[in-house]
Symmetry: C2
Amino acid sequence: MDKVLFIKMVLGAWNIRIAQLDKLFGELPDEQLQKEIAPGKNTGVYILGHLTAINNRMIPLLNLGNELHPGLFKTFVETPEKEIVATPTVKELRQAWKDINKELDALFERMQPDEWFERHNSISPEDFAKEPHRNKLNVVITRTCHLDYHAGQLVLLK
Amino acid sequence: MDKVLFIKMVLGAWNIRIAQLDKLFGELPDEQLQKEIAPGKNTGVYILGHLTAINNRMIPLLNLGNELHPGLFKTFVETPEKEIVATPTVKELRQAWKDINKELDALFERMQPDEWFERHNSISPEDFAKEPHRNKLNVVITRTCHLDYHAGQLVLLK
């Protein structure tokens, strides 16, 4: 029972922020999203790509399968915006954002409560034995805050 | 055991972000903090006041006592920056940020695990009976993300 309640708290927070970002992206037309959030800083499109890439990477991180769009992490996490040579179109990114979140939603639905408290793929079994709070559900807490970090930036484009 | 683990996950996420913001505020001298995060948007000082006010309000919200600085919420949450008539100095705000977080830390330390799953002061007993995930610990999840939302903005001043 406790576990189910914790999971509901964390997934609830995640779902609220995904919905808020869906709304925010919907309110920002392409030309607005292509602007820099502040002079000399990343554009909204880069942040859209970045959030999509981080969510995409959650699939293998939580041991739930393979990324839907394997190239995104390299482009939008490992490469600063000024050094990107080729990116998907804004339309493609908007679609990828929706597809990946829908996939995560379906994958989360199928997880059993105990699975959320298992080790994720970026912590070793030895470290996890000492630090069991670094489990799969903890990844969702971290990533929920990550959504908010960039939502605070995207809102500047409104 | 489950409860203790889950509390550790949530307070761990909170503490990491408080530490990150302490570091960020330390890296931003007053003249930098007084700038707008983007043209026409709030200044870093307003965000410092805003985060301090929201953290301050957590004390009564979690039924842990009275706010340390009663005026902050009105100034930095209920009043847009352009309409503020008098504010504390940057130095006073920096100190209030530290004092309030230190107080929260001490109050959190004294809480028993079960207390975290009790009703907070902005949900009615009737609603809480139907939605027990809206407990005190859930407030910390929400407020942790709120810290990140504004950290994403403050980092633009660096």
